[in-house]
Amino acid sequence: MSGLRSFVARRLLLGAAQTVAVVLLVFALTEALPGDAAVALAGDQPDPARIAAIRETMHLDKPAYERLADWATGLLHGDLGTSLVSGRPVGRYIADGFGPTLLLATLTLALLVPLGFGLGVLAARHEGRLADRLISSVTLAVYAVPEFALGVLLVTVLALQLAWLPPTAVGYGTDLLGHPAALVLPVLVLLARPVCSLSRLVRAGMIDALASPYVAQARRYGISGPRVRYTHALPNALAPAVQQLARTVDWLLCGVIVVEALYVIPGLGTVLLNAVAERDVPVVQGLAVVFGVLTVVINLGADLVAHRLAPRAGVAA
């Protein structure tokens, strides 16, 4: 057990280092972009004197390393800094954007897990037969459609032509729960590909597990079919699926930019997109920290679950 504890400690340390590296990289990249927040703010009349004035009030005239150091000291006190553009604290930006993102992620996940595992187990049970061939070919086909294409297609058919659902969440603000109809399309698009990859992984794992000698032994000794499937075979199919699930959660929380932009949902992806457009470096950096920490924590969690499910593989970091 101490081996596991030291593994967690090492992984957290490594994760912190990775997050720092991400923040530095993001800072460097935003610096490398042409123009800065002052240029973006100056708008259509780029008067050099005005830009210089804005630069001075924003402290953008300071050298880059000083600005980074200022921001980093703030971070150590739990202060993510303030937005260059609006002057609001970055923490508020993230808190506001996190609500819709979390809502979308939770809904997607709540549907993804039963659907992905259910389809996977179903296909494996009927390996090579009609149900399996149907599930396998449909999941492969859906997986091949990029999310923006599927999103546009669904909007065109379900919202514009049939008018069953609102095409976007424009005008609902962050109160998306009050308008569930607006959530249907984005959740569908978010679900499409993860369901396919997850069910295919579960199917492959289940087929292996169902053909294994330990499942044969359980059947031989009179254990009932469902019990063999769900308590003896499925745990062996879970380990790879859990890793895939972690990547999906990571993606849902940190990077559904395309879907949020398409359906105009004011989540973290939209915040990030706007901040980059406005060269709002503190907001971008704040998001980088949040995304970095989330990624590290989620993957560590997945590794621990996978370790519990496949204890033989051991842990590596």
Binding site: S2, S212, P213, A216, R220, I223, H232, P311
Partner: protein
């Protein structure tokens, strides 16, 4: 052979004779069972009665149809098999199965308790809901105790990989006992085990039979069969060639194949004190394994001094985990993490394979225990064998192929076999091919790591005969290091080194070590081998 009809005539004549003292109904009966795959019969005309409390042994070389017959008792057949004949099972004739590799039937993702609890839960359905859990647990613990597993409470919380091979085997046995099996089919329960573990398995199976459970033993380990079996059925190529009470079969085997199977083991060339030059010398070797949990390394082997003379065979014996294989790997440059030196003709060998020159690589060759894993399954055996000469001696491919063919046929593999892929060769044939591959390097030292432990008696004897001939023919050119846990195999060597828990506890000439052991560990190894022999003698009375 045209004597295939003989057993059919013989079996009925013999069965009443062996059945007369027992009037019990058979628990399982096979009648004229024939199992065919793709038109090829794997089991042909097997008739078998399994009676409570008796141990029936099916013996025969690998591929003789033992396992298929054993699984037929469970009502299981290989996929796509065409089955004719009859399998009749008594209504309460539950059958348990202990396979050759017990780890395979233990679920790697679940704790040991998972399947045991499920089996027990099915038996406590009549109790009120509140009592079921406790009753099931009690049954599980009792079964583990019956399978001679101490400290069952702690064991139940472990995963299969946290158990030793012996514990895994006993857990699988406990599953069968918990099920209430009246018959237990044990497939090669002692293969690859050291002498001490073997005698424990023998005691265990004898205890199971003493409880009135019928045991069907599928084995090519004749020592174990002799110590345990009441009835012996000798199989060859899917047919029963001879069957009868163990005692009769041993004292008066009727079929030539049985006689061959029971024949004594060969001796290596006379144990004259061949005082050749030392070829390989080990000096102050201390090998370590990296231990991730301790964040460091643990010493697994200490060998202050060990010499291998030219033309000599040195056996390294010890229980599993004693460091035998690590020693062999140090010699061959496969284990780098060690202090001290390995000298070839007085010149230190680099520790790593990469540091060794082609000549040095060729000089020390290694033959692995698992021949199947040591071949690339996608290329014909012949190419892989010839490759050694090309790589290590710079022979041109055509000449290498000719040489490989000659060497392979010298080892009893004809060209047709040699041109096949490894998947279509048997374990024994592949082990010969592995030997040929090593020999094509023209080695000074051949390290054989348990190369006979997975093989049946006849094949094993064939391989050992080969080694004897090689040693003899190549005169002083070739020396052997034979890694083994089997004292009978070790007895063929000139010298024996005994390892226990990484320490070289004793070394000397084979005669001296086997007849006048100085170290208590060597004595205990010898005693457990003797005990098995004695067990068979007393059971025959």
């Amino acid at each position: 052979m045209d004597d295939s009809a003989e057993p059919l005539a013989e079996a009925p004549a013999e069965e009443p004779q062996s059945q007369t003292p027992v009037t019990e109904e058979p628990l399982v009966e096979l009648r004229e069972l024939r199992v065919e795959i793709d038109g090829r019969a794997i089991v042909d005309g097997v008739t078998l009665r399994v009676v409570p409390g008796k141990i029936t042994a099916l013996v025969g070389a690998s591929g003789s149809g033992k396992t298929t017959t054993g699984l037929a008792l469970l009502g299981e057949f290989p996929p796509g098999a065409r089955v004719t004949g009859e399998v009749r099972r008594a209504a309460d004739g539950l059958v348990g199965y202990v396979p050759q590799h017990p780890a395979a039937v233990l679920n790697p993702a679940r704790r040991i308790s998972a399947l045991l609890t499920d089996i027990a839960r099915a038996q406590v359905g009549h109790l009120p809901r509140a009592q079921r859990r406790a009753a099931a647990r009690e049954r599980v613990l009792r079964a583990l105790a019956e399978a001679q597993l101490p400290d069952a409470e702690a064991l139940l919380r472990r995963h299969p990989h946290q158990l030793s091979g012996g514990q895994q085997q006993r857990v699988v046995l406990a599953q069968a006992l918990l099920l209430g099996a009246r018959i237990i089919v044990a497939d090669e329960p002692t293969t690859g085990q050291d002498a001490l573990t073997k005698s424990r398995v023998v005691e265990q199976l004898a205890a199971v039979a003493a409880r009135g459970i019928a045991v069907v033993l599928l084995s090519h380990d004749l020592d174990v069969v002799r110590a345990l079996a009441d009835e012996v059925i000798v199989m060859r190529a899917g047919r029963v060639v001879e069957s009868g009470p163990a005692q009769r079969l041993w004292s008066a085997p009727r079929h030539p194949w049985t006689r061959e199977l029971l024949a004594e083991q060969p001796q290596f060339t006379a144990q004259e004190g061949s005082a050749g030059q030392p070829v390989l010398q080990v000096r102050d070797l201390v090998a370590r394994h990296r231990d991730p949990s301790a964040r460091g390394s643990t010493e697994v082997l200490r060998t202050p001094r060990l010499d291998l003379h030219s033309g000599e065979c040195l056996a390294v014996v010890g229980r599993s985990g004693s460091g035998k294989t690590t020693l062999a790997r140090c010699l061959a440059g496969l284990h780098r993490d060690h202090d001290g030196e390995v000298l070839l003709d007085g010149v230190p060998l680099p520790r790593s394979l990469r540091g060794r020159s082609r000549a040095q690589l060729a000089a020390v060759q290694y033959v692995f225990q698992d021949a199947r894993a040591a071949f690339d399954e996608h290329r014909p055996v012949l190419h892989q064998v010839a490759r050694t000469a090309v790589r290590l001696r710079g022979t041109d491919p055509a000449a290498a192929t000719r040489e490989a063919l000659a060497t392979l046929s010298g080892l009893g593999l004809d060209e047709d076999l040699a041109r096949r892929r490894p998947g279509r060769l048997s374990g024994g044939e592949l082990q010969r091919a592995a030997l040929a591959r090593a020999l094509l390097a023209r080695p000074r030292v051949l390290v054989c790591d348990e190369i006979t432990s997975g093989l049946d008696t006849v094949t094993r004897r064939g391989i050992l005969d080969l080694l004897t001939t090689l040693l003899h023919d190549r005169d002083d050119d070739l020396s052997l290091v034979l890694i083994t846990h089997d004292l009978d195999t070790a007895a063929l060597a000139h010298h024996i080194a005994v390892l226990d828990a990484g320490e070289l506890v004793e070394q000397g000439s084979a005669g001296q070590v086997l007849t006048a052991p100085r170290h208590p560990f060597t004595r205990s190894l010898l005693e457990s081998t003797d005990r098995r022999r004695a067990g068979q003698a007393s059971s025959a009375v």
